[in-house]
């Protein structure tokens, strides 16, 4: 477990600037809360909150899709994997790192959201449930991207991830609504996007649990693929 934690913390440290940039969006929400009339502009606040929340899903794809590529390109991965670190532990560290990076963001957004939206009448408990949904969506999206990045470059990995996350959403619109739960990033994002002051929504847990289970499945799949990859070969 120790190498996994070390790799995860190191990943967050290496991604500190993108995380910082992300947190600036949360800061924007906090500024809006400080300098606007919360009661009168509550719909605007909720709109910004939803937008800022959904950005992090895209960022988690970016984090997951580029992690292995960057490490291989800089050859830093060699010094790490020359230690007593198995490939699956390395992958677990990256999954945990993406989760921690997303969790930092979700926590900051949760604090800011429960303060600003809470004052405008949105239930604080629902803000935290939405943050859990967001974190689960980020975990799954990041892990899917990581899986593709074990054998594709970040550009193609992002494309493949978008397809895997988007196709069930498309199928739910055209074939049957149940398809959205095949890869539940879409229903989790919809839970966030559809919440409103008049109808904040309840705590619907199944997509959240499904996202956690699928994260584990994709983690196992990525670990299996990564164990077969020649990591010392140039990635360009």
């Amino acid at each position: 477990m120790k190498p996994v934690l070390l790799i995860a913390v190191n990943f967050v440290r290496e991604q500190r600037w993108p995380i910082f940039v992300l947190l600036l969006w949360v800061l924007l929400l906090a500024f809006l809360g400080l300098f606007s009339d919360i009661r009168r502009q509550r719909e605007d606040l909720l709109f910004v909150f939803k937008q800022v929340a959904v950005y992090v899903i895209a960022f988690s794809v970016f984090f997951g899709g580029s992690a292995i590529y960057n490490e291989r390109k800089t050859r830093r991965i060699l010094a790490v994997l020359s230690k007593s670190v198995a490939r699956y532990q390395y992958l677990s560290g990256l999954v945990l790192g993406v989760t921690i990076a997303s969790a930092i963001y979700c926590f900051a957004l949760g604090i800011t959201g429960s303060w600003t939206l809470g004052e405008a009448g949105f239930p604080a408990s629902q803000v935290w449930f939405l943050m859990l949904c967001l974190l689960a969506a980020c975990m799954l999206a990041g892990t899917v991207a990581l899986t593709f990045s074990t054998f594709l470059n970040p550009f193609f990995a992002a494309g493949a991830t978008a397809a895997v996350l988007g196709l069930p959403a498309l199928a739910s619109q055209t074939i049957a609504p149940q398809w959205q739960y095949a890869i539940p990033v879409y229903p989790l994002a919809v839970t966030i996007m559809k919440s409103s002051f008049t109808s904040p929504g309840g705590a619907f847990w199944p997509p959240l649990g499904l996202a956690v289970v699928e994260t584990l499945v994709f983690w196992a799949l990525s670990a299996r693929i990564f164990s077969l990859v020649d990591i010392a070969v140039a990635v360009e």
């Binding site: 120790k2 190498p3 190191n10 010094a79 020649d230």
Partner: protein, 307 residues
């Protein structure tokens, strides 16, 4: 003596994309490295040295064949706990050098005050004790290589695998690295050293292997390889330099080299000319001569059927 590193008929092919053309980097490569020796691993660029090392470390998988490192199959994470590795073109995270060494030590299961003490020790050992608080990102290439060596040494490894450890170092730092290697051998460690600096290899290595185009073309004890069996140097007095081709007079004696197979006839000729033989020794060659010899005369024969 126990075998520490063992390649068993390893072949590694790379496939180019999108043509799927095959490039054979290692071809039925077999080698055994024994415990307690410093083993020199030589070869021109593209010979397959780094590929062999990466296979041993588990960074890639062999197309066929396999091997063992410290008694475990290549790629075993537990075996790597007892191994120190320095890659060619070392790349490390940008953080303070002492913290960096501690990070790599912690990845190997070390911790607490022992790790902190060991990190300081190895940084002192590679001459970076004054740079412990400095960010590695600001290091020169030579300093970076020394930091890389420190992270390789932090777990006090039984087997040290070094890929071009002295390539970016100044002469003074090279001497330091040489001393570290010799000290490690005295402590019973095994060192697998890939290098282009043949003079360094000649100075420290007990055995040497030369790899060319993925094949092992020379293997032996360094001393044995340097002793030529093909030429003999004869030193004599009381003869004219004109009597033998290439003879040189110095300090009252004449010295010249002859093919070993003609040695007896030449000695008789010296005596017939009234001369006195002072010494007869096999010619000592440099590793560079051997390297050039084995890597040039196999260009055509070994190259066939590689791609």
């Amino acid at each position: 003596m126990a075998t520490v590193l063992e390649f068993e008929s390893v072949t590694k092919e790379y496939r180019s994309f999108p043509s799927r053309r095959r490039l054979r980097a290692l071809d039925s490569f077999t080698l055994r490295v024994e415990a307690g020796e410093i083993f020199g691993f030589l070869g021109p660029n593209g010979a397959g040295k780094s590929t062999a090392i990466h296979l041993a470390m588990g960074f890639m998988r062999a197309t066929s064949g396999g091997g063992h490192m410290l008694g475990k199959p290549f790629g075993d994470a537990h075996a790597r706990r007892r191994v120190g590795f320095l890659a060619e073109n070392v790349a490390l995270y940008h953080r303070r050098s002492e913290r960096l060494v501690r990070f790599y030590g912690a990845l190997n299961g070390m911790g607490g005050t022992h790790l902190a003490k060991r990190a300081r020790e190895v940084l002192t050992g590679v001459g970076l004790q004054d740079q412990a608080k400095r960010n590695v990102g600001k290091f020169s290439r030579g300093m970076l290589q020394r930091a890389g060596l420190a992270q390789a040494l932090v777990n006090d490894p039984e087997l040290l695998i070094l890929d071009e450890p002295t390539s970016a170092l100044d002469p003074l730092a090279r001497v330091t690295v040489r001393e570290i290697l010799l000290k490690a051998r005295e402590a019973g460690k095994t060192i697998f050293l890939s290098s282009h600096l043949l003079s360094e290899v000649e100075l420290v290595c007990d055995r040497v292997a030369v790899l060319h185009r993925g094949r092992l073309v020379r293997l032996g004890r360094t001393e044995d390889l340097l002793q030529s069996t093909e030429k003999t140097e004869i030193v004599a007095r009381g003869i004219a330099t004109s009597a033998f081709t290439g003879a040189v007079a110095q300090d009252g004696v004449v010295s010249f080299s002859v093919p070993a197979r003609t040695q007896r006839a030449v000695l008789e000729r010296v005596w017939n000319l009234g001369g006195e033989v002072v010494s007869v020794n096999p010619v000592r060659r440099s590793l560079e001569e051997i390297f050039l010899e084995v890597t040039s005369d196999r260009e055509s024969s070994v190259g066939e059927g590689r791609q």
